[in-house]
C-alpha cells in the first residue's frame, strides 16, 4: 500500500487557465447560459478539515484510511472531472492556509467563475474558528458573485454519536445563518450536509451539490419517474460510474441505505468486469483505463437479494449507469423493463444531442415525446 499519492498531474499553475470566459451575470441556471462553461466547484475550509481527503476519496478512489497520510495541500489543486459525459465540472481544492481575498490572489477570477462553494467544517474540532472563516468567506464571495451556491459540509461526523450529529448540525446551522442575518445577507442561502469519508454520506452530499449544477435535472427526473412508474420499479438512480455520484434519481425520497446498496453494486460490477471484461479501448488516461474498460454500453447486471428485492444495473452511456431497485415479482416482466430502458436511453441521448447542438432546452416537453409510449403487456 503506497501512501505517496502523486497528485502532480492535477496541479495547475494558479494565474493561468483563463479560458473559461467572462463571468456569467445571467440569472437562473448559470451552467445553461454558457454551453461550454465548465461548472466550477470550490472546496474550502480551514486547514485539516478534510478537503483534500474528500477530493481523493470521491474522485480518486483513495481508501479513506490512506488519507491520513496525505500531506498538507500547499497550492490550489484544480481537477477536471471530465470523464462523465453529462456533467463536466471542475473541482478546485483550495488550501485553508491562504487568504484568497488578499491582494496576492485574483479573487475576482477565483470566485467570479465559480458555481458552487463547498465549505468543509471539521465537526470533531472546535468549530468556532471555522464558523468565523465560513462567514468571512461566504460573505466576501457573495459580493463577488451572487450566483454561487453555498454548501456546508459538516465533516468527519463518523466520530460523533447520532444525537451529537443532529445537535451540531442544528447548532452550526443556527449560528451560521444568524451571522448572515446580522450581516444583512438574508438572501444568501446555505445548505448543510453531514458527511464522512468512511461511509457513503460524502458521495451523497457531493451528488446533491453536482445535481444543482446540472440544468437538465428536472428533465432527467421526469424521465426517471416515467420509467419507474411504467416498469414497476421502486427506486432508480442514474450514476456516474467512476465517482459513484448520482446524477439524478426519481422524485421519491432517497433512502440512504438504498443509495449505499447501489454504490456497492457498482463496486461489485466494476470489480468483476475489471477482471473479466475485455480491454479494447485505450483512449483513456492510464489511471482510469481499468474502470473504463470494465464498462461498455452492453454492461448489465442483476443481483437478487434474499428479502425479495432485485437490483438491476444497465449501462446507459460510457459513464452513466442506471441502477434500479425493484420487487422480485416485478422483475418477472424483464422484457418490458428492458424495452422501457431502451426508450429511456433514447430519451437521454436526445437530451445529450440537444445539449450538443447548444439549443435551449425547454424543460419537460421534448422529453415525453422522446420517451415514447411504452407498451403495456
Amino acid at each position: 500500500m503506497s501512501h505517496e499519492v502523486d497528485d502532480m498531474k492535477y496541479g495547475i499553475s494558479f494565474p493561468g487557465d483563463f479560458n473559461y470566459g467572462p463571468d456569467i451575470d445571467g440569472e437562473g441556471d448559470t451552467a445553461s447560459t454558457l454551453p461550454q462553461h465548465k461548472p466550477r466547484i470550490l472546496l474550502m475550509g480551514l486547514r485539516r478539515s478534510g478537503k483534500s481527503s474528500i477530493q481523493k476519496v470521491v474522485f480518486h478512489k483513495v481508501s479513506p484510511n490512506e488519507t491520513l497520510f496525505l500531506e498538507s495541500t500547499n497550492k490550489m489543486v484544480k481537477e477536471d472531472v471530465t470523464n462523465c459525459s453529462f456533467v463536466v465540472f471542475q473541482v478546485w481544492d483550495l488550501p485553508g492556509h491562504l487568504d484568497y481575498f488578499d491582494s496576492a490572489f485574483d479573487s475576482e477570477h477565483i470566485f467570479g467563475g465559480c458555481d458552487a462553494l463547498i465549505f468543509v467544517i471539521d465537526s470533531q474540532d472546535d468549530y468556532q474558528d471555522a464558523l468565523a472563516k465560513l462567514h468571512f468567506t461566504v460573505s466576501r464571495a457573495y459580493k463577488i458573485n451572487a450566483n454561487i451556491k453555498f454548501e456546508v459540509f459538516i465533516h468527519k461526523v463518523d466520530g460523533l454519536s447520532d444525537d451529537h450529529k443532529i445537535d451540531s448540525q442544528r447548532d452550526i446551522h443556527q449560528r451560521a445563518t444568524d451571522d448572515l442575518v446580522d450581516a444583512g445577507l438574508e438572501n444568501l442561502h446555505l445548505s448543510f450536509y453531514l458527511t464522512s469519508i468512511y461511509d457513503h454520506s460524502i458521495f451523497e452530499a457531493f451528488s446533491k451539490v453536482v445535481q444543482k449544477l446540472i440544468p437538465q435535472i428536472p428533465t432527467l427526473e421526469n424521465l426517471l419517474d416515467i420509467f419507474i412508474s411504467n416498469s414497476g420499479i421502486e427506486k432508480a438512480f442514474l450514476f456516474d460510474v467512476v465517482s459513484k455520484i448520482y446524477i439524478a434519481t426519481d422524485s421519491s425520497p432517497v433512502d440512504m441505505q438504498s443509495y449505499e446498496l447501489c454504490c456497492d453494486m457498482i463496486d461489485v460490477v466494476l470489480d468483476i468486469s475489471t477482471i473479466y471484461g475485455d480491454d479494447a479501448d485505450f483512449s483513456f488516461p492510464p489511471e482510469r483505463l481499468k474502470e473504463e474498460n470494465a464498462f461498455n454500453t452492453d454492461s448489465c447486471a442483476v443481483i437478487k437479494l434474499n428479502n425479495g428485492t432485485v437490483m438491476y444495473l444497465r449501462q446507459v452511456t460510457k459513464y452513466l449507469a442506471l441502477v434500479c431497485i425493484l420487487r422480485e415479482d416485478s422483475f418477472k416482466r424483464q422484457g418490458l423493463i428492458d424495452y422501457n430502458f431502451w426508450c429511456f436511453r433514447k430519451g437521454i441521448k436526445e437530451v445529450f444531442e440537444l445539449r450538443k447542438t447548444n439549443k435551449q432546452l425547454t424543460n419537460g416537453e421534448n422529453l415525453e415525446n422522446g420517451m415514447g409510449e411504452p407498451p403495456q403487456v
Binding site: M1, H3, M8, G11, I12, S13, F14, P15, L46, R47, R48, P64, N65, L68, F69, L70, E71, S72, N74, K75, M76, P95, H97, L98, D99, F101, D102, S103, A104, Q124, D129, A132, K133, F136, K156, D158, G159, L160, Y198
Partner: protein, 562 residues
C-alpha cells in the same frame, strides 16, 4: 549583487511564510525601517549597521495581512520563526554589509519577498515538485525559486515544503546568473535535506509511527481525535529541530552571503556605446593574449597569410596596456629631441605635397623608414602616422641599429649610421625619411623643429599612381584648420571604420569560395564604392582585420562550401 535571498516555508498553521532573508546593504544608502506604526516612528532610518541588527527583532511578530483567522493571526509558531536578531557580515573591501533576519526591514522589499514567497510555495508549479523555476514581473520583481521538501516524521505526509527564492529587479542579470545560482542553491538545499533525513531515519527507528497509524485502531474515531490532539500542541517544528543543528541559520547566513557576493563578482556590467570598432576588437585580442602574464608576443592564431610573423614584434614589456591608442609606450627613454604632437603637425612640417607622398605610402602599406638621431622624435613621428592606419596594420620597430625587413614591420626607426641593404633598395617598395638635425641647437627657440630637415627618398615612385580615395578625405580633414584635433581624430576613425567594412566585404569575397572572375571583382568594387586605385589599400588593410573576424569568415565559408 542587489538581490535578496530568502528561505520560505509553507507552515502547517500559517501557510506560506518568509523564514529568513539575507540582503546586502551599501553604507551610503539609508534604509527606512518597515512601518512607522510598528516601531513607533523612532527608528525612521538606520544609520549604523549595529542598529540594523538590534532593530530586527521587534517587528517579527507582525504579519501585515492576515485577517482571516481569528485566533492565531498574529502569533508565529516555531515552524515559521528562524532567528530573533539576525546576523550581519561586513565586507570591508567592497564596503558592503550583508544582513540576515527573519524579515526584510523595508516595507516594500518585504511586500515583494512575501509575494514571491506565496507564489513560489502556493502558486507556481515546478515540474517534478522540487527544483528551480523563474517567475516575476516588473512591479513585483523577478524571482528564481527553488522548492524542496524536508523530511519531518511528525508532519502530515512526512514532509514539509520549503523554498529558497532570489528576488531581484533586474531580470537580465538574474537570468544570466541562473546557472550559478541554481547550482549553489542546490548545494545548500542538499545540505539541509541530508541533515534532515538523518534525523528522520533516527526518529523512524525509535517510533514506527506509520505502522502505528495504520494498524492500530487509528480508524476508530475516538483514537483519531486523540492522535490529532497530540499533534495540535506542536504542529510545526523548527528547522533547527528538523536538522538537529543549532547553527543551521548561521550556516545559511554564510552560504547566502557567499552566494550574493560571488554572484555579484561573477558578472560585471559595462556600458557599451555602439558596436565595437575593429580597432577595439584588436585591442581586446591583444589583451587576451597578455592576460596570462606572458610576454606580449602577438602571434596570429591563424597563420593564414603570414606564417613568418612569429613573435618578432616584441612590444615593449608585458605590463604595458596596449589599449591606449595603440602607441608604443614611454619605455624608450626620452633623449630630448622634439616631439611630434599629432598628424597635423607632420603635415605642417612636411608641407602638403610631401605629406601626400608619405601618407600614400603609409596607407598602402609600404615600409616607412625613419632615419635620424632623435629617438623621441622618431617614436612620436611613428605614433602620429598611425592615425592613418587601422590598428591591426600597425607594426613598428621604434628604433633599431640594423635594418629590419618589411614583413616584420611597416614602421622602422633607424640609426643614421645604418644604410639600407642593397637588395632592399631594388626589391622592396619603401619610403625613407632622413631626418637631419640642425647643427647649431637653439635651446630657447620657440619652434623646436627649427632647422630640422626631412628628406623623403624612395625608389618606388608613386607620383603617377592615383592615391586611394579615402586618403583624399583624410587629407581634407587634416588640412581643414577649423576642425579641432579631436574632431579630426574621430573623423579619421570613422573613415577607417568605413573602409574596414569594405575590406571585410573584400575579404569575404576573396577567401570564401574560390573561382571568382575578374569581372566579379570589378562589380564588387563598384558596389562597395571603390575603384581600382583603392585596391592596394584594400588588400593591405585585410591584414588589419581581427583574428576573430577572420576565423569567423573562414569557418562560415567553409561550412558554406561543404
Amino acid at each position: 549583487m542587489n538581490a535578496i535571498i530568502s528561505l520560505c516555508h509553507f507552515c502547517e498553521l500559517h501557510g506560506p511564510k518568509v523564514l529568513f532573508c539575507t540582503q546586502p546593504f551599501h553604507p551610503e544608502e539609508k534604509t527606512v525601517s518597515a512601518g512607522d506604526s510598528e516601531t513607533e516612528g523612532a527608528d525612521g532610518s538606520i544609520p549604523s549597521r549595529r542598529h540594523v541588527a538590534s532593530s530586527a527583532e521587534p517587528m517579527t511578530p507582525q504579519t501585515p495581512t492576515h485577517n482571516s483567522l481569528p485566533n492565531y493571526k498574529n502569533d508565529l509558531c516555531e515552524g515559521c520563526t528562524s532567528v530573533h536578531l539576525g546576523f550581519v557580515s561586513h565586507d570591508e573591501e567592497a564596503a558592503v554589509s550583508y544582513m540576515s533576519s527573519q524579515r526584510p526591514q523595508h516595507r516594500d522589499v518585504f511586500a515583494m519577498v512575501r509575494q514571491a514567497c506565496i507564489r513560489s510555495l502556493s502558486c507556481e508549479v515546478c515540474p517534478g515538485r522540487e527544483g528551480p523555476i523563474f517567475f516575476g514581473d516588473e512591479q513585483q520583481g523577478h524571482a528564481i525559486s527553488y522548492t524542496f521538501y524536508i523530511k519531518d516524521y511528525q508532519a502530515r505526509g512526512f514532509q514539509r515544503l520549503y523554498s529558497v527564492i532570489v528576488v531581484m529587479m533586474d531580470k537580465i542579470y538574474l537570468l544570466n546568473s541562473w546557472p550559478f545560482l541554481v547550482s549553489h542553491i542546490e548545494t545548500v538545499v542538499e545540505h539541509l535535506k541530508s541533515k534532515a533525513s538523518v534525523v528522520f531515519e533516527n526518529e523512524k527507528v525509535k517510533m514506527p509511527l506509520r505502522q502505528y497509524r495504520l494498524t492500530s485502531t487509528s480508524v476508530n474515531p475516538k483514537n483519531f481525535i486523540q492522535q490529532r490532539g497530540g499533534n495540535v500542541n506542536k504542529p510545526a517544528r523548527s528547522l533547527n529541530e528538523l536538522t538537529d543543528d543549532k547553527h543551521v541559520f548561521k550556516v545559511l547566513h554564510t552560504s547566502f552571503v557567499w552566494i550574493l557576493k560571488a554572484c555579484g563578482n561573477r558578472l560585471s556590467e559595462t556600458l557599451l556605446e555602439g558596436p565595437p570598432t575593429e580597432d577595439s576588437i584588436i585591442d581586446m585580442e591583444k589583451q587576451e593574449e597578455t592576460e596570462e602574464g606572458f610576454v606580449k608576443l602577438f602571434s596570429k592564431k591563424l597563420g593564414i597569410d603570414d606564417d613568418l610573423e612569429l613573435g618578432l614584434d616584441v612590444l615593449s614589456n608585458p605590463g604595458t596596456n596596449p589599449g591606449d591608442n595603440g602607441t608604443i609606450d614611454e619605455v624608450v627613454e626620452d633623449d630630448g629631441s622634439p616631439e611630434i604632437i599629432d598628424i597635423r603637425h607632420i603635415y605642417k612640417l612636411l608641407g602638403s605635397r610631401r605629406f601626400h607622398v608619405l601618407a600614400h605610402h603609409v596607407v598602402i602599406g609600404n615600409q616607412i623608414i625613419l632615419r635620424g638621431k632623435g629617438r623621441t622624435l622618431i617614436r612620436t613621428f611613428q605614433n602620429a602616422l598611425t592615425w592613418l592606419l587601422p590598428k591591426g596594420c600597425y607594426r613598428a620597430v621604434p628604433y633599431s641599429d640594423e635594418y629590419v625587413e618589411s614583413y616584420r614591420c611597416n614602421f622602422l626607426g633607424l640609426n643614421p649610421a645604418v644604410s639600407i641593404p642593397s637588395y632592399v633598395n631594388t626589391s622592396e617598395p619603401f619610403l625613407l625619411v632622413d631626418i637631419y638635425e640642425p647643427e647649431d641647437v637653439h635651446l630657447e627657440s620657440p619652434d623646436p623643429f627649427k632647422g630640422y630637415i626631412f628628406k623623403l627618398s624612395t625608389f618606388f615612385d608613386l607620383d603617377k599612381v592615383v592615391a586611394p580615395s579615402v586618403l583624399q578625405k583624410m587629407e581634407h580633414a587634416i588640412v581643414n584648420d577649423s576642425l579641432s584635433i579631436e574632431v579630426v581624430d574621430q573623423c579619421l576613425i570613422c573613415l577607417k571604420e568605413e573602409w574596414m567594412n569594405k575590406v571585410k566585404v573584400m575579404f569575404k569575397f576573396t577567401k570564401a569560395g574560390g573561382g571568382r572572375s575578374e569581372e566579379d571583382a570589378k562589380n564588387l568594387l563598384k558596389i562597395v564604392g571603390a575603384t581600382d586605385d583603392d585596391k592596394p589599400l584594400l588588400s593591405y588593410w585585410m591584414r588589419g582585420l581581427s583574428d576573430q573576424y577572420k576565423k569567423h569568415i573562414l569557418s562560415a565559408s567553409r561550412q558554406h562550401v561543404l
